[in-house]
């Protein structure tokens, strides 16, 4: 399998507090990987380290055979290959839906207006938000915002999509619409790395589940193995608490 991102011995600490300790793992092309674990286990930090919103304190992140933590590496270019979806959506408040999906294409990828618009519309259609092109973020519900945020990330045509607890800030009745879009993306063969608390969703959609606790990867494997037949004591405990 073709490796897209490989993480080696990644460390991250905030001051004296170690959040990630010697994390090693790989995301392969076309794979859907879910990161699970209790809050504070470092899963969001890991995701944010991958696109360098947090700067790791040690280790390597290998993308396309190059360590992007080298000083020489063009971080901005690297980021365009990763689509990021935030817990709080973070749509650009000053732009409407269409322009939210276009501004990166225009200013970073330097695409033409027409090409950017067509691409944006294509992905807005995918997430079912093409009727809202002129809406401002504040006019949308949480679920709608998150779907636009997914379209915005997709419009950059990234190699990997990163989701940081995409449904955690949503009202319960809106979780479904966002998960549905993500399921569809998974079925289409997108490479996805998802931090989530939705166990049911993780079981259905992922090829591999990574369980983290206290900044280390405790266990990883196919969903049947990690969720149904966990090997590690800490995993069992976590699942007992969350699955009930």
């Amino acid at each position: 399998m073709e490796k897209v991102i490989e993480i080696k011995h990644l460390n991250k600490s905030f001051g004296n507090h170690e959040v990630l300790r010697d994390v090693n793992f790989t995301v392969n092309k076309g794979e859907v990987v879910c990161l699970i674990g209790s809050s504070g286990s470092g899963k969001s930090t890991l995701l944010r380290c991958i696109n360098l919103l947090e700067t790791p304190t040690g280790g390597e992140i290998i993308y396309n055979g190059e360590n992007i933590l080298n000083d020489k590496h063009d971080v901005r270019k690297y980021r365009t290959h990763l689509g990021m979806v935030f817990q709080q959506f973070n749509l650009f408040n000053n732009h409407n839906v269409l322009k939210n999906c276009m501004v990166g294409q225009l200013k970073v990828l330097k695409r033409s207006k027409e090409a950017a618009k067509q691409n944006a519309l294509k992905y807005l259609k995918t997430v079912g938000m093409d009727k809202y092109v002129n809406a401002k973020p504040k006019q949308l519900s949480g679920g709608q915002k998150q779907r636009v945020a997914i379209a915005r990330a997709l419009a950059m045509d990234p190699e990997v999509m990163l989701f940081d607890e995409p449904t955690s800030a949503l009202d319960p009745e809106m979780v479904g619409e966002v998960l549905k879009v993500m399921r569809q993306l998974a079925d289409e063969g997108n490479t996805m790395l998802i931090v989530t608390h939705e166990m049911e969703f993780a079981r259905e959609v992922s090829d591999r589940i990574v369980f983290m606790d206290k900044g280390v990867i405790v266990e990883e494997g196919p969903p049947e193995q990690v969720l149904v037949n966990p090997q590690q004591e800490r995993t069992k405990e976590f699942l007992k608490r969350t699955l009930k």
């Binding site: 696109n51 919103l53 901005r76 270019k77 980021r79 365009t80 990763l82 990021m84 935030f86 709080q88 959506f89 973070n90 749509l91 650009f92 408040n93 000053n94 732009h95 409407n96 269409l98 322009k99 501004v103 990166g104 200013k107 970073v108 990828l109 207006k113 618009k117 009727k131 809202y132 092109v133 002129n134 809406a135 401002k136 504040k138 006019q139 949308l140 945020a149 915005r152 990330a153 950059m156």
Partner: protein, 243 residues
């Protein structure tokens, strides 16, 4: 004081009053714009993230120090004194500054000193998520500022800018000390000629009030326009407007 006298003063002097009001408005509007630009510049300079110790960051610190000194001086001294110092100070070097230019410079610099803090506050108050989202799609600091942050800051500082405009309409009266022919100065000459001080200044009072009231209404309207509707009507036709 009688209404007849007011009418006759108006009849005789309305062109002067209007010219004075025009001058006042011109000074207030131009200097508010200049001040807003200065404030924007300083606000942006003050919020550039500093990276470790580099030549750039030392350079930036020096500039920011100078800007802080400017802000403190202009906020900490009366505008009437600033007007005297600027105008007569430059005149002392044998160069007579155009009075109107001097007026705009003084009020503009004064406004800039106040606006700098508003802008800095406006930038700081933008949600961190906006920066992160921009960063995550590969935008640099400059691009993020131009396309994402500053447009939102503009909206945030609009009420403060409006206040500043209203203050400038009123406070430009102090520029009469350097004989700028704005509304107050004009009134002084009118009243000096007809000796009807109360009536002459009452007219001026009403003119100031009209100007500030209209200015505040216009700004309120602009704010509302910028905010738009809270609900979105799904359009059935697929004719979406481009930006």
């Amino acid at each position: 004081m009688s209404f007849d006298i007011i009418l006759s003063i108006l009849q005789e002097n309305w062109p002067s009053y209007l010219r004075g009001a025009y001058m006042t408005l011109l000074i207030a509007v131009i200097s508010t714009i200049i001040g807003a630009l200065i404030g924007l510049f300083i606000g942006v300079m003050h919020t550039i993230p500093l990276r470790k110790k580099s030549v750039k960051s030392i350079f930036l610190k020096i500039i920011n120090f100078i800007l802080t000194v400017y802000v403190e001086i202009f906020r900490g001294t009366p505008m009437i004194v600033q007007a005297m110092v600027v105008f007569y100070g430059i005149a002392a070097y044998g160069y007579e500054m155009d009075r109107f230019v001097a007026a705009v410079v003084v009020v503009g610099l004064n406004t800039g000193a106040y606006m700098a803090e508003y802008v800095r506050g406006g930038i700081v108050s933008i949600d961190k998520g906006q920066y992160e989202a921009a960063e995550a799609i590969g935008m640099g600091h400059f691009q993020t500022m131009i396309h994402i942050i500053l447009p939102q800051v503009f909206r945030n500082i609009l009420p403060a800018t409006g206040n500043q405009l209203i203050m400038n309409i009123k406070d430009s009266a102090v520029l009469s000390v350097i004989s700028v022919t704005e509304l107050f100065f004009t009134t002084k000459s009118i009243a000096g000629a007809n000796f009807r001080f109360a009536e002459s200044y009452l007219i001026t009072c009403i003119m100031y009030l009209i100007m500030t009231f209209v200015a505040s209404r216009i700004l309120r309207y602009v704010e509302k326009r910028m905010d738009g509707q809270n609900a979105y009507q799904v359009e059935q036709r697929r004719e979406e407007q481009m930006y």
